[in-house]
Structure formats: C-alpha cells, structure tokens
C-alpha cells in the first residue's frame, strides 16, 4: 500500500507544469476571450508533442500507455494552470478510438491533428451503438472534428459535422467555448458499452484531478495574497478570518487530492468499490474547487472582484468542470446507491 506519488510521477507532472507556466499563462485566457477557440492550434500541437493527448492511449497508436493515476497527476496540472482546450475529451477520444481499432483516428488525435470536444446530454434517450439522438451542450467544440458522447449505456464519438442546430453560447468561463447542438439519430463511431469500459468513471477521475488543481491553485493564490497584502500595518493573513479561511481551503484541497488518487488507484487495480471511490472523489473535488475559488475571491477583496485578476477564472472553470459527466446532484444519488466502501 503506497499512496505517495513516485519520483517518476512527480517528474512527469513537473514537466507538464513547467510547460503550462511558460506556454499557456492564465492571462492568455483573457487575451483570447473573443477568439473562436480558447487555445491556439500551435499550442495544442505543442501539448500533443509533450504527450498530453496520448497519456492513456496505447503505445501502438503513439500513446504512452500510462495508468490512470499518472494521468490524474497530469490533469491536476491542467487544472492548476487553467489550461483551456478539450484535453479531457480528446485524451479520452484517443484512448477510445485506439481500443475500438480505429488506429488512424487515434493516432491523429494523439498527434494533435484531430480534436475531440465534449458533448454533454441535455435531453433525449441515452444512445447506443447504433444511434445517438438528443440535444447536447458542447464544450470546446471549435476546431474539434468529433465530440465525445458519454451515456450511461456507453460512450462513443460523433462527427461534429453531423450535428444540427449548432449554436454558440457565451460561457461564464472565458476559457471555455460552449455551444448547443442536436444529434438526430447519428451513428456513433468507436462506441463501447459501459460494461466493457468505464469511460464515465475514468472521466470523472480526471475531472476530479482538474478540480483538485483548481482548488490548490486558488488556495495558493489566497495564501500568497494573505502573506503579502498589508492592511492595518500587517499582512492580512495574521487575521484569523483570513488565516482560517485559507486553512479550510487547504484542508478541502488535501482531502480532495488524496481521495482522487485513491479513486484512480481503485479503478486501476479493479477494486470492487472503485465506483464508490470515484464518485466520492468527484463530490469532494467539486466542492473543494468551487468553495476554494469562491473563498479566494473574498480573501482578495476588491481585487478579487475584477476581471483582470485571475481569482474569478478559477471559480468559473470550477463550475464548468463540476458539470462534466452529469450533474452534481445526480452523482450524489449514484454514490448513495452504491454498496458501502470496502
């Protein structure tokens, strides 16, 4: 039993973090707010070169074939740096395509040539391997040739071009591109039934990791501000109202991170209670991210209420990622429907 990341894993995460810090600074979200796509293709390709899109895809399609806990460590960095773009859906799409035997497609996703956005069902009956219909929210559709659809019965890809009534919607998060669209019984690609591969659970783990990264970054930002902002002749962090708010953020982030790792390893090792652990991780990570981001705005006072500060970007992204793969309330119901943890 070992819940501490290995030196290799930490190194992997550090490389990604360095790349994001240099190449995808958070301020770029503001700069690109009016661009059709939240991330430039050049950067997308650079991310692909770094291996970000093939983390869990097999090596024969250009992936790294790493485990879910490795991937969680990387996605935490994506969250920490608020990296825009459909990494979660594209990474999942590459793995999906590879395992379904669409090696060419998988390879082109891994190399960054083809992007996959996320389609979140709003209504309509769950899809199956033959047809997918209903209305969807699309996350980061621009530049994406496909969208990943995850239904309780399974998951697959739809060609973006096959979608109808595509309407761009302004998202509260300037780093996320939102749209709505209808699928009219389109046949999905690379469909895999849920019992064959738990795509939603994998997605929830990675979304949790992103949320943890956001929770940690918001915590760090608030702590830093509390140390340096001087009022009444002393750093504001001497005041328990501020200090204890920072502590509660730290505890929430810590709980969320350890549980997310626990969930990732539970899935990897096929524990019987893996689904319980995954849902638990997503619950605590979602609360940590939204809660910490909101608290950080308050710690920052007037500054935190300005668009030019980063504080609100954490909050907005947290709300976006918390919605991935179904509503938070639905997940709480799912969690209570599980058998007790092992």
């Amino acid at each position: 039993m070992d819940l501490l990341p290995s030196a290799d894993q930490l190194e992997l995460a550090a490389v990604a973090s360095e790349f994001f810090a240099e190449q995808v600074p958070i301020s770029a979200i503001r700069d690109r707010r009016d661009e059709p796509s939240a991330i430039p293709r050049k950067l997308w390709s650079a991310g692909a070169d770094l291996g970000l899109l093939g983390v869990s895809a097999a090596e024969d399609v250009g992936g790294s074939g790493l485990d879910l806990d490795d991937e969680a460590l990387l996605f935490r960095e994506l969250g920490r740096w608020l990296v825009p773009g459909p990494f979660l859906a594209s990474g999942g799409g590459a793995r999906r395509a590879g395992r379904a035997g669409h090696a060419g497609l998988a390879r082109s996703i891994v190399t960054g040539e083809v992007l996959v956005g996320l389609a979140q069902r709003r209504d309509g009956e769950p899809g199956d391997g033959r047809r997918v219909a209903g209305t969807f929210d699309l996350f980061d559709r621009p530049d994406a040739s496909y969208v990943l659809v995850v239904d309780p019965s399974g998951a697959g890809l739809l060609e973006t071009a096959s979608l109808e009534d595509v309407r761009t919607i302004e998202c509260i998060d300037p780093g996320t591109r939102l749209a709505s669209a209808t699928a009219a019984g389109t046949a999905p690609l690379c469909w895999v039934p849920a019992e064959d591969e738990p795509i939603r659970s994998r997605g929830l783990v990675l979304a949790s990791a992103v949320l943890v990264g956001i929770a940690e970054a918001a915590r760090d930002q608030a702590v830093e501000h509390a140390k340096t902002r001087v009022q009444f002749g002393r750093p504001i962090g001497v005041n328990q109202a501020i200090k204890h708010a920072c502590v509660d953020m730290a505890v929430a982030a810590e709980a969320a991170w350890e549980q997310t790792l626990f969930a990732a390893i539970s899935m990897r090792s096929g524990r019987a209670d893996a689904e319980f652990q995954v849902l638990a991780a997503n619950v605590v990570a979602g609360r940590a991210a939204v809660g910490n981001a909101a608290a950080s705005i308050q710690v920052h006072g007037g500054m935190g209420y300005t668009y030019e500060h980063d504080a609100h970007l954490y909050l907005k992204r947290a709300h976006v990622v918390e919605q991935f793969f179904g509503s938070t309330r639905e997940r709480l119901g799912d969690l209570l429907a599980q058998e007790a943890a092992q």
């Binding site: 979140q120 709003r122 929210d137 919607i169 302004e170 998202c171 509260i172 998060d173 996320t176 939102l178 001087v230 009022q231 009444f232 002749g233 504001i236 005041n239 109202a241 501020i242 909101a294 705005i297 308050q298 006072g301 007037g302 935190g304 209420y305 300005t306 668009y307 030019e308 504080a311 609100h312 909050l315 709300h319 976006v320 919605q323 509503s327 309330r329 639905e330």
Partner: protein
C-alpha cells in the same frame, strides 16, 4: 407595536404604484455601454423628479418631499415589486453624497448640489478606497496640499464605481500626514470630475460590468470651498457616509432581494429538477433551501423595518447598520448560489443581472461583491463585535 400604515401612507403607496405602472422605463437598462447607462439612469431619475418622487425623505428646501423613511420604504417596496432596475449610477448621489451633504455641508454646497442630484443632472462617484487602503481605509495616502484657495490633489483611488461617467466625486484625501493617528488629517472634498489632471481607467468586473474604475490624480486643483465638514475632519464625515450605506441606503437592495427570491421560486416551479422528471421545486433539498431563503428575506425585511423605526427616533444610524449589511450580503450570496444549483448546466451560460428575463449566472457573479463592497463582511463583523457586542480588540 403595529404594522399598519396610516391612511395617508396607504394613499401614498397607491399613488406610487399607479405612477410607476405608468412611467417605468420600458427599455432594459443598457448596462454594457457607459454613456448609454448614464443617459438611461439620469433620464429615469429626471422622470422621477418630474413626477415628484425624488428625495422622498429629503428636506423640502433642497428639493425633497420632506416625508419620512416610512414613505421612502414604501417607495422602495413598490419599486421592487414593479421589477424596476436599481438606480445604479445615481446610487452614490442619492444614498451617500446626498445624505452626507444634508447632515454636514454648508448651505451653499447643499443649495447647489442637492437639487442637481434629485433632478438627475449629476452622477456622483465615491473616492474612498486606494490600492493600499481597502479595508484599512484610514491608511489612505492620496494627498491634498493647500495652495491659496485651492487644494492640489495627487494620488490614486480604486473600485470607484461610475467614475467614468461621473460629474462629481466624494473624495477622501490626506491633508495632514503628521497627525497623531492616521484617522486624523483626512479631508472630505467635493471633486469636479472634469478637473484637469484626472485620469479614469475602467476596470471590468467579474460579471462583465463596466462601472468599476481606477482614478488617477495628477495635481488636480480642488477649490478649498469644496471641503465638506472641516479640514482634517473627513474621517468622521466618511464614517457617517458609511453608516448611511450600511443602514438605510441598502433598503432598496434588501427589498429587491425578496423579489429575487420570488423570481427564483417561480423559476423552480417552471424548470425540471435534478431528477429530470419533477419540477425543481418538488426536489426536497431545493424546496427547503428556497423556503429558507424566503424566511431569511422575511427576517431581513423585519430587521429593515425595525431599523427604520429606530432611525425615526434618532437621526444618526448606529453600528447596527452593519448587522443589516452583513445579513443582507450573506443571504444574497446564498440565494445567488441556490439559483446556480437549480440551473445546473444552464448556469454555465453567461448572463447579466440586467437582462430580461433576469440573468441568474450574472447575478451569481455579482453577488460576490455584496460581501466586499461598502466594507467586507469581515470588517462588518469586526465593527459589530467591537461596537455592538463590546468585545475586546
């Protein structure tokens, strides 16, 4: 004790209701374009003035109606019930600068400014906070040096709402740096925003609002006749301004929050809930949170009424105003967050609280300002702890 309004007050309410139904602006407020916002807000204020509804509780000799806070409350209640936009750009003039001038200014200052505020001629802004002086307002360092019959002002202010469209500013400056305590040596000035040397930089808010600004002062000359209260006595004047803000000035917001809760109840009746089958209002959790919100805004109203009754007996609002402000802010934030929880994924769609129908995601983002602006909730808790409960510092 009673909740009965006098026959005269009931008649007043009827008049307000009828007038508002006939004169309320039909167009939504153009909230993204500063110049259009100014025009809209001032035009609406002018309409109110012409209808005889401006300055309900202000003295008649400065253009007010000379009525009591109860009539003012009735106005706010009917105003909120009619679903009308808040008086945003006119807020500082009507609720900070105006009341402060009434209690503290010279007759000349009052005669000039008060009617202009009521008539919708001027927009006022507040120049209190600075980059280094937020919660610690007394640490302000924007400096004013006397030069003949003028003060020469240099420095910077932040979080100044509507500075980009304002005519005047209630400006706190440091006139004495050698005083025994930093609260001394501060002066409250009326600053003409068209004076040379003033530069205004708008700062966008997290809701996308355009009203926030930084203001830079480079040797701005302000006539010494524009001092309100006395030189070096500005802290006391400013504290009374803040007491207005935390007391009666929020009445309109408090009343509007009750209306927001009812809008949300309606929304929960119409929308499908988290289970995808029943309406959101049938969800036990959302139902109870909505009911709790109803109870809280009811209590907020009761506190507001009680505060008005107390104010009718003594003129200067006490530190109890901070309790209203704190309870308002925390309730407003909970209500705004509840809307996001009811909306689920739809809450990700960017909206503005100025939208029609109401923009809940915009309101959610806006709600973060309620526990920051006008003194953070932490500062309010300090004030209440120290001055209401008498806890040691």
């Amino acid at each position: 004790m009673d909740l009965d309004f006098t026959a005269e007050q009931v008649e007043f309410r009827d008049e307000v209701r009828t007038w508002l139904a006939e004169h309320a602006p039909a167009e939504p407020r153009p909230h993204r374009d500063p110049a259009a916002t100014r025009e809209y807000d001032l035009a609406w204020q002018r309409t109110q003035w012409e209808g005889g509804w401006a300055g309900i509780a202000w003295p008649e000799r400065y253009g007010g109606r000379g009525l009591t806070l109860v009539q003012q409350l009735i106005w706010y209640e009917e105003y909120a019930r009619a679903g009308l936009p808040s008086v945003d750009a006119c807020f500082v003039g009507l609720n900070h600068a105006g009341p402060t001038l009434i209690t503290t200014a010279t007759e000349e200052q009052k005669n000039f400014h008060l009617p202009r505020i009521l008539r919708g001629q001027d927009v006022w802004c507040q120049g209190f906070s600075e980059p280094g002086a937020g919660s610690d307002l007394a640490a302000l360092s924007t400096r004013a040096v006397r030069d003949g019959e003028e003060f020469v002002v240099s420095g910077q202010k932040v979080w100044t709402s509507f500075a980009n469209i304002a005519d005047y500013q209630e400006l706190l400056v440091r006139t004495d740096r050698d005083g025994p305590k930093k609260h001394h040596g501060i002066t409250w000035l009326i600053c003409d925003m068209s004076s040379p040397g003033i530069e205004v930089r708008p700062i966008e808010t997290i809701e996308g609002g355009a009203e926030f600004c930084e203001v830079f002062y480079d040797e701005v000359r302000v006539p010494a006749a524009n001092v309100v209260g006395e030189r070096d006595n500005g802290w006391r004047v400013a504290m009374s301004t803040l007491s207005f803000e935390r007391g009666t000035a929020y009445t309109a917001s408090q009343v509007r929050l009750a209306d927001t809760v009812e809008k949300l109840v309606d929304l929960a009746r119409e929308r499908t809930g988290p289970d995808g089958r029943r309406p959101a209002i049938a969800d036990d959790e959302l139902c109870r949170r909505l009911a709790t919100a109803r109870a809280e805004v009811a209590a907020l109203r009761a506190m507001t009424y009680a505060g008005i009754c107390r104010n009718l007996r003594s003129d200067t609002p006490g530190p109890e105003g901070s309790m209203l402000k704190l309870y308002y802010a925390e309730t407003a934030k909970r209500v705004a967050r509840l809307a996001m929880d009811i909306l689920g994924a739809d809450g990700l769609r960017a909206t503005s609280r100025w939208n029609r129908p109401f923009g809940w995601s915009g309101n959610y983002l806006y709600s973060f300002s309620t526990s920051i602006g006008g003194g953070t909730s932490e500062i309010q808790r300090n004030i209440i702890g120290d001055r209401v409960l008498g806890l040691p510092r």
